[in-house]
Amino acid sequence: MIHVKGLKKSFGDIHVLKGVDLKIERGDVAVVIGPSGCGKSTFLRCLNLLEEPTAGRLEIATQRLEFEPGGKVSEPRKAKFRASTGMVFQGFNLFPHMTVRENVMSGPFLNRILSRKAAGEKADELLARVGLSERAHLMPNQISGGQAQRVAIARALALDPEVMLFDEPTSALDPELVGEVLEVMQGLAEDGTTMVVVTHEMSFARDVATNVVFMDGGKVGEMGPPAQVLDAPQSPRLQSFLSKVVH
């Protein structure tokens, strides 16, 4: 499903990703953890080419791209590749001038995949799925952060992505709102959605992940099922990281 080989990313002289190798199967939930600055967000942003890797190979579903330093992948090629992914951001990034429903419709409708009516019906279904049918006609500034993030999830799902990418989806939320977002994500996982989640929520990693990926210094440090990575960490780096994280 997702196959990453030798993926590197540098910003000028700063080498953020130093060769990431990773395989994720369809239906897997990969939770990426690691200390700040380890490259986990950059890795996620490379998966949908918000950042263009400087080297390595990337395969998602049926698409494959190779990268080289200075080699620029064309925008249409990037867009085509990106279409197999959906992304949820830390800061929600809802469109503030559109209602909740219009936000969810925007992908299929503005890309002319569906008619306004069909896109609206799809939005209604998705809003029901994230438990926000009642909020459809509100503006983003009239709902809570937890609700906004659920709308953002529905908006990404509206394009039927093969993989959902989550970049610290609960880090900007008040503690009491984290649960409702994780619940929706858990529901997606149970429905078989392939997901890559960068998060600090260890309980989510433990309960929902099929793979936990510990990133350290721009590489994959350890990887495996949660019981192995979280409960029997091999490297001192991971042991030290886990001891500092609140469970």
């Binding site: 949908n48 990106r82 279409a83 809802l94 469109f95 992908g107 908006r155 990404a156």
Partner: protein, 215 residues
């Protein structure tokens, strides 16, 4: 003690015509300038190759030279350079229009780049084309932010029409100068002219601040 004689300003026809001229130049050059600003602003924002250098040079040139110099240059120097005489009324408005255009382009650019990076990224991951992003996501938010600076630039534009009097456009300022010459009453005449500008712009300013409170 100075003795006021306000009767000298009582020349209804003169002022009425002057007000019309001032308003016409303010409105027409503002709108034309805005249109130029949108075009050049889009070029700057979209980083169109080559054209963006032209646009940057234009903005720099017109923002960094005095408007009075521009007006006089287009009125007297341009016909010498081109060998072609533009109608006076047109040449007089050219400087004002291009001046407004340069500031509008900057306001447009600033409005667009003020939109958070997250909005661009969200549109990118949803697969929107550049045109769709601009039209449906960025510009609807950016235009709201452009309104206050455009209003204030338009207010400046109306006041700046007073510079047209140097090329003999019979606006409010020109009417005041000629009335002063015939009556030798600068105090009353220029005070009255100032009051006219104030009367025109006070409502505009009030409406603008109402709008800002609302948004």
């Amino acid at each position: 003690m100075y003795e006021f004689d306000w009767s000298v300003v009582l020349d209804g026809a003169l002022w009425l015509n002057a007000i019309k001229i001032t308003l016409a130049y303010a409105v027409v050059t503002s709108i034309a300038g805005l249109l130029i600003g949108v075009v050049f602003g889009l070029i700057l924002v979209a980083r169109v190759p080559v054209l963006r250098w032209v646009a940057s040079a234009y903005v720099l040139l017109f923002r960094s030279t005095p408007l009075l110099v521009q007006i006089v240059w287009f009125f007297y120097a341009l016909p010498m350079v081109t060998g072609y005489a533009l109608p006076d009324w047109f040449a007089a408005g050219l400087g004002l229009t291009l001046y407004m255009g340069a500031f509008s382009a900057e306001i447009f650019r600033a409005g667009v780049i003020s939109i958070e990076k997250g909005q661009w990224e969200a549109s990118t991951v949803l697969g929107f084309s550049y045109a769709t992003k601009m039209r449906h996501i960025i510009l609807p938010q950016a235009t709201r932010r452009m309104v206050p600076p455009i209003v204030s630039q338009s207010i400046l534009q109306l006041k700046n029409t007073s510079l047209l009097s140097v090329v003999a456009v019979p606006d409010i300022m020109y009417a005041a100068s000629s009335l002063t010459m015939s009556t030798y009453r600068p105090l009353e005449v220029y005070t009255f002219a100032a009051l006219l500008y104030l009367a025109i712009l006070t409502p505009v300013t009030l409406i603008a601040s109402r709008y800002e409170l609302k948004h």
